[in-house]
């Protein structure tokens, strides 16, 4: 139980996917202009990460290892994750237009996101059990959401600031992301994860 907590805290704060591992930077910069959309994106990522983790774990231990083809891990994971996300998107669009409006538009963005793939690869590397993998996925996703929402808040505020012309937009966003990452380094050593 304590192990699971360590994994969770480590994934959220200490080894935050965005701010410490620098994974998933594309949606971090792309979908962080408004807090609402950032929250939506965070939920979408949480959902996809958890589902992808489950599927890739099974692929790893029931397909790749039995057949001795672990070297195809990356390709196999991309294949599985991409089609999974596509599938989920289509289903949501048809079944629940309301949910699709709030969540669905983000799904294509995460299809082959490095954060999702990185999560799968990392948890296999660390030899996590199934349960640990799922907790790790949730922690990573929550960390991603936290970073995204914090960042979106900052960017909303920057909209009202007199940022010099040459720094507007992505430039200042990257500077801010850097500083946010610096602040997160304060968590270093908090837990050994």
């Amino acid at each position: 139980m304590a192990d699971l907590l360590v994994i969770l805290v480590s994934a959220i704060f200490v080894n935050n996917f965005v701010l410490a591992r620098f994974l998933g930077i594309c949606p971090f910069l792309g979908v962080s202009k408004k807090v609402e959309t950032a929250l939506g994106m965070g939920m979408a990522v949480t959902f996809v990460m958890t589902v992808a983790m489950v599927v890739t774990w099974f692929v790893q231990y029931f397909v790749l290892i039995p057949f001795g083809i672990e070297y195809l891990q990356t390709i196999a994971f991309i294949l599985v994750i991409a089609s999974l996300v596509q599938l989920v998107e289509m289903v949501i669009q048809k079944v629940s237009p309301v949910l699709y409006q709030s969540l669905g538009i983000f799904l294509p963005l995460i299809t082959t996101n490095c954060a999702v793939l990185g999560l799968a690869v990392l948890s296999i590397q660390k030899d996590y059990t199934f349960l640990e993998s799922v907790v790790f996925a949730i922690g990573a996703a929550l960390g991603f959401t936290l970073a995204l929402v914090l960042f979106a808040g900052l960017r909303e505020r920057l909209e009202l600031c007199a940022v010099p012309q040459s720094f507007r937009g992505t430039a200042i966003a990257l500077v801010t992301a850097g500083l946010l990452s610096l602040a997160f380094m304060g968590f270093a050593g908090l837990v050994k994860g």
Binding site: G153, E156, R157, C161, A183, M185, G189, L190
Partner: protein
């Protein structure tokens, strides 16, 4: 006659308080702490103070010139950043480190965001954290104080918090011989950053700011209160391992942070509840990092992290508008 007339929208009178008056008051309030630092650490502290302040002013001028904006160093905000940065550096900082810090603080911490009022993070803390991560050796080389006239030389030693952390890392126990007494810590007779050594001088300055109504009680109280409560809790659980709350209070940068860094208006929430929340957050993170983190001192990181959360805090702690029922409107 109408040529001389001024017309404007109401109101037509003003309190007379201006940004530069506020900034200058903050500078005055920091002078006692600077004085104590120079007394205990001698010329090296003075040079760090001067280099940091002048460096900040110069960087501000260069940035504003480059961007074709009016130069506004007279408002005193850059000087405050410089002084606060110096107060957050070890007295033995080499000149290039101090200067680099000044440039980072103003250029990256402030001017790229559009100057005064736009920066989301406290510029002095941005610089301190960048330096701490980039130059850990220089930034953690501390000198024991050598009061003017005592004839002592500056000797390298560890800060009380650092000594505690080392001992706990090695033995899991509180060290038996922490340097100095609580009274020493309070007066400033201990190794540490230039500005964090004398709680007394900082409190004097803060009292002046309270008198001028530039500081409100919310953030310092919530910050320090949380630190005392939480560290007290751990102390009660295991006094052999965790230091008592007073130790937390007077060593390290808590007083400096709580009264001067966490109350930087630009980077903190505007509503009362927001300020309290901000202070509590700072306190929590400070204790967590101090007791369990890799760094012996967590005040800077805690404040920066809460700076990052400020827009969200502002958003969710809007005061209840007069005449609206119950819960405030949250988007």
């Amino acid at each position: 006659m109408s040529q001389q007339l001024y017309l404007s929208s109401s109101p037509h009178i003003h309190s007379g308080e201006t940004t530069s008056k506020v900034m200058h008051a903050v500078i005055y309030s920091l002078l006692p702490a600077c004085g104590v630092a120079v007394y205990f650490f001698g010329p090296s502290a003075l040079s760090v103070l001067l280099i940091a302040t002048l460096g900040c002013l110069a960087t501000e001028v260069v940035c504003q010139r480059l961007m074709g904006q009016p130069v506004t160093i007279a408002d005193g905000s850059a000087a405050i950043t410089g002084i606060l940065l110096a107060l957050n550096l070890p007295p033995s900082s080499p000149w290039w480190l101090t200067l680099l810090g000044a440039v980072i603080a103003i250029a990256i911490g402030k001017q790229v965001y559009g100057g005064l009022g736009s920066n989301p993070f406290n510029p002095a803390l941005v610089a301190r954290v960048v330096l701490l991560i980039s130059f850990p050796v220089q930034m953690t080389t501390w000198s024991a104080p050598a009061p003017l006239g005592s004839g002592l030389d500056l000797v390298t030693t560890a800060t009380p918090l650092g000594a505690w952390k080392n001992a706990v890392m090695l033995t899991g126990q509180m060290p038996s011989d922490l340097p100095g007494s609580t009274a020493d810590y309070f007066l400033g007779n201990m190794p540490g950053c230039i500005g964090e050594v004398s709680a007394l001088a900082l409190l004097l300055g803060a009292a002046y700011l309270f008198y001028r109504r530039i500081l409100t009680w919310h953030i310092p109280t919530a910050f320090i209160g949380t630190v005392i409560l939480l560290s007290g809790l751990f102390w009660l659980i295991d006094p052999a391992k965790y230091p008592n709350p007073v130790f937390h209070l007077v060593t390290g940068g808590l007083i400096l942070g709580a009264f001067y860094m966490a109350t930087d208006m630009v980077t903190t929430p505007v509503s009362t509840r927001g300020m309290l929340l901000f202070g509590v957050g700072c306190g929590l993170l400070t204790v967590l990092i101090r007791l369990f983190g890799g760094y012996p001192e967590g005040v800077s990181f805690a404040i920066l992290l809460m700076n990052a959360a400020t827009p969200l805090i502002d958003r969710y702690t809007r005061p209840k508008t007069f005449g609206t029922p119950g819960q405030e409107v949250v988007r």
